[in-house]
Amino acid sequence: MIFIDDISSDNIYNILSSKAVHRACRKEGMYMRFTIEHLVKHFEKKEVLRDIDFTFESGKIYGLLGRNGAGKTTLFNCLNKDMKADGGNFYLEEGGQKRETVPDDIGYVLSAPTVPEFLTGREFLKFFIDIHEDKIEESKNLDAYFDYMSIAPEDRDKLLKDYSHGMKNKMQMLVNIIAKPNLLLLDEPLTSLDVVVAEEMKQILRSLKENRIIIVSTHIMDLALDLCDEIVLLNHGVLDKVDKTDMDSHEFKEKILAVLRDERPID
């Protein structure tokens, strides 16, 4: 795909592909699917997720596109089991084997970055690696991780409470990808970042998609089109894939807009 070319020249990609992140515990090249079946969630009488039925495949970045309040965050919360779904189920399929997701399968980067304010960046990273020691086989020097995320050396030993929004976001992203989750959920990841950081993040995400499923929620269409391999619309509580074949990008946008605009009452 286009992405591969324009990243292979990029040193971020080199660091990543050459070192630990790729080689670790997962069997290389394992094809994986994540299936959601008839997921339902309502708040009081309001049905936010009506019937989510979809299969995601590894090696792709999915753009979960939906209007404000469509239920993107709710869907992620259900998948991360922060919220109990009212019906339906979801599972991972690896080499033909179905299994329930366990917390370690999922990395979830929230839209508002939350990091423990009383630790420094380095301490947080060390703590995280300590906890996941058994899963990170080839542990890198801590600075290598910071380099990879382009967090400046002078910031690494500052308390996280003094980090900027973008830096907190990077820290959150970093600890989420160190654990090498099979499923990486990112809720509105780039919406409030400056252009430089946003571009760095995009590169990182693209370099991570090998062997895992990445789902990026956003309400910004251009971002979804730019970053993602597949566009999935969350509209009126259901998920729909938008077929991109034989359409130029303008037609494609128009089609998405038409679907999202369609104001059926939700009940």
């Binding site: 009488k45 917390p103 979830y108 939350t114 009383f118 630790l119 703590f127």
Partner: protein, 532 residues
């Protein structure tokens, strides 16, 4: 204007109805009784509307009834040296003068005004005037009825009674008109809640004058006591109030810039509310102190914990040490007292042997448990609970034990000082036949401290009351906290031999801690989550 009033009033009512329903839903038992779609169900709406009506009625009448009864009539009744009606008028005049600028209705920034004017963009002048007229009518009727009743009881003439409601309304009108004029001159609108230092001093002085002068008269201090306003002066001020109101009415009625005024008051107010909310989080971040060097050789959760304790020294260990130090001083003072005045020995001995229940409340007061769990959440769990590894059952339990150990350590220091101090006091004040009493004193105080540490950490883990916005969202948690207070307060009434009570405490604490451990083990992996 009539229509505006109807809309504004029903908006205010809706807001209040929803507030009532929301607060009812916060009570754990009632929560089950109400259906999910509470806000839409017409029956509950009617119920809440009735509640709202009752509330409005209570506010209009019961409030004024109590005001006249307690603040004025009863207070005036105490002062026998001056004619009662003179005191009545004296207090009424001064309180009304304070009330006029601090209770204007128009300049009170409330949520319903914000919704009506900023969000719904209703006509500000019509809104302000119609609601104001309504409030004024409430005041007039309330003051007319109760002014008449209590005034008559205090011996006021009918004319004096009639002055009261109109003077109160008149003064309010005058203040509003004055504020509006000030706005026209300066362009700044000031909400009635922005009183400022000078305002507070003035209010304090006025209150002192309202009650202090009659009190001085009772106590027989003529220099001050003679300053009770003579009836004619009071009456004159009231008449001035009425005249001022009449003159001011035109100003208010013809004022056209209500929108600008409200825009300023309300946005300022919302900004302050928002600031206050955010500053809670910032306050708790402020207590984090970073030290030089000092790495940690530990790993994983022990590492996290060590850094947490070290960076929160100030609010955890410093205050614990301070309490221990103060306790030590008090104990030393007690011991010194025994040496200096040997005659109190018997009393002290008796006190120590029968008043141990008192120490439940004292231990409750000095326990750092809530402070600890609060800062745990604000600075640590609030963020880490969003990571899935942190919510794995074995991690939750592991951290629970580490934290239990820490909070117990923090609390044991003052507890040890108090327990040992009590034992020493007992020994020095004559001792006891049963040496087990010394052990009992020390151990039971230590047990109480352990109990409170366990208790706060347990309810934090089992009820995790905060949401992601760091607000307490659990009604159950609130109730448990209040119940704990009442429980401990109740022990102050109890007198029991130290031996029996100490034994009871120790058994209770052991049983409680065991039960709490089981509960945490069973439930915490599920309950220790961020609230939605």
């Amino acid at each position: 204007m009539n229509k505006t009033f109807k809309i504004a009033y029903s908006l205010k009512n809706t807001y209040r109805v929803n507030t009532i329903l929301y607060s009812l839903k916060q009570v754990p038992v009632l929560k089950r009784l109400f259906p999910q779609e509470l806000y839409r169900d017409p029956d509950y709406k009617i119920f809440a509307n009735i509640m709202s009506g009752i509330w409005e009625f209570i506010k209009a009448f019961l409030g004024k009834f109590l005001y006249f009864l307690i603040m004025i009539a009863l207070a005036a009744g105490f002062c026998k040296t001056v004619p009662e009606r003179q005191t009545f008028l004296h207090i009424f005049v001064i309180l009304t003068l304070i009330g006029a600028p601090t209770n204007t209705y128009i300049f009170n920034p409330t949520k319903d005004k914000y919704y009506a004017l900023i969000l719904l963009k209703m006509d500000a002048r019509e809104y302000a005037l119609s609601m104001y007229v309504y409030e004024m009518l409430k005041i007039l009727t309330g003051y007319l009825i109760f002014g008449m009743i209590f005034g008559k009881m205090s011996g006021l003439t009918i004319w004096q009674c009639l002055l009261l409601p109109f003077a109160a309304a008149g003064m309010k009108l005058a203040v509003v008109a004055w504020s509006l004029r000030k706005y026209e001159r300066t362009g700044y609108a000031v909400s009635e809640n922005q009183i400022g230092v000078r305002g507070w001093i003035l209010i304090a002085l006025s209150l002192a004058a309202a009650y202090g002068i009659p009190a001085a008269a009772v106590l027989g201090i003529p220099v001050i006591g003679n300053c009770v306003l003579p009836e004619t002066v009071s009456a004159a001020i009231l008449v001035c109030g009425i005249l001022g109101g009449i003159v001011s009415f035109r100003k208010i009625w013809t004022f056209t810039e209500f929108r600008e005024v409200y825009q300023q008051i309300l946005t300022q107010h919302m900004h302050q509310v928002e600031e206050a909310r955010r500053s809670v989080k910032r306050q708790s971040e402020k207590v984090i102190q970073i030290e030089e060097g000092a790495g940690s050789s530990r790993k994983g959760f022990e590492y996290l914990n060590e850094l947490f304790i070290r960076r929160h020294q100030k609010i955890l260990w410093k205050s614990s040490k301070r309490i221990a130090f103060i306790s030590l001083c008090i104990m030393c003072a007690g011991i010194l007292g025994i040496f200096l005045f040997p005659e109190i020995k018997g009393k002290v001995n008796h006190l120590v042997l029968t008043n141990l229940p008192y120490f439940v409340f004292i231990m409750y007061c000095i326990n750092r448990g809530t402070g600890f769990t609060n800062v745990l959440f604000m600075n640590c769990d609030h963020s880490l609970l969003t990571y899935s590894f942190y919510k794995r059952p074995e991690c939750i339990l592991k951290l629970f034990w580490i934290r239990l150990r820490e909070i117990m350590k923090v609390n044991l220091l003052p507890a040890f000082v108090i327990g040992a101090g009590l034992a020493a006091l007992l020994y020095l004040s004559g001792g006891t036949e049963d040496p087990l009493n010394y052990v009992m004193l020390l151990i039971s105080v230590l047990c109480m401290s352990a109990f409170f540490s366990m208790h706060y950490l347990t309810i934090y883990y089992l009820l995790q009351p905060y949401n992601a916005g760091t607000e307490i969202k659990s009604g159950t948690y609130r109730i448990v906290v209040i119940a704990t207070y009442l429980f401990c307060y109740g022990f102050m009434q109890l007198r029991m031999s130290t031996f029996v009570f100490g034994l009871g405490t120790i058994i209770f604490c052991v049983v409680y801690c065991a039960a709490a451990c089981v509960l945490v083990y069973r439930l915490a992996p599920r309950t220790f989550r961020l609230r939605a």
